[in-house]
Amino acid sequence: MAVGKRKFPFLLLILFALILVLGINLGEVPSVLEKAARICLSCIGIG
């Protein structure tokens, strides 16, 4: 029906896929792992 009118979501998908790949290439995945694998006591309201 309105597939032609609904190109914007697909442009967004491509944009965010590129952003995701860029983030991975910039080495952000190990950075997330580093933070998520440690307990930050002050972050959860202790200390």
Binding site: G23, L26, A37, I46
Partner: protein, 299 residues
Amino acid sequence: MLVIRRWIQIIATVLSNAYWMFPFTRGIYQGSLKAVCVPGLNCYSCPAATGACPLGSLQNFMATLRPGLRTGHYHFGLYIVGMLGLVGTLVGRMPCAWLCPFGFLQELVHKIPSRKFEIPRFLTYIKYVLLGLFIFVFPFLIVDDFGYGMTWFCKFVCPAGTLEAAIPMMLLKAELRELIGLLFYSKLTILAVFLVWMVLSRRPFCRVACPLGAIYSLFNRYSVFRMTHDPDKCTRCEACYRDCPMGVKFYEDPNNYDCIRCLKCLQESCRFGAISYEIAGVPAPEPAKERAKAGAHAG
């Protein structure tokens, strides 16, 4: 459909918290899965958590925005932004209804019998203020002597972190109880307020204070999956509004920023076939409409 959604919520909650060795290790899971963000709100300091919280990760990037030690590149959190953007563009706020453990908890608590209250609409905009200030601005701008910011939302607000991480960690590690201070009690109060509010109102945290829901909500109008409304069939009986866990008046705005696409209105509320959905502009398959019509005739 409700049964299917319940099972998906249970499975998502279990998968997000599948590290059941924590009573023996007395610590959190530290494996490589923690590099992947879960789509819902689930504290990564929870002893059982198997993935990273996207909000916590985003705040950490804002708080430590600086060149990477190894690469020399700035880390803006593009990995998280890309992941949230992809999910949001595909389905909008749907993860809130189907995958978020804290959303699931709110639905369960709301089943406790009590007098129920509606949430004033103006309160639903608070989540955007929290998103802007506590996730982006404060962690980035307010820094300590070493140039690092704090995870403001996690530290001062997040009731999921208190419930899933702070309380279990204190039960696991007795030495942490000595560190309890005003901050912990203030967060405990926030958790208590939301727990009581969950009994009285439908999904109060999602509607009022969740920055993750606020991010996904920005995509509701532009997502591949969208709800559709047929005004010719709609009688404005408000059955969809009465059943909606987010208090959305579907007939006024089918892709309202607060709609979590739980599909309850489609499957259970509307007897006139006025509610449907489309995927990439392609209308829903006929069975959904036929079922709605059959309901209308039966009613």
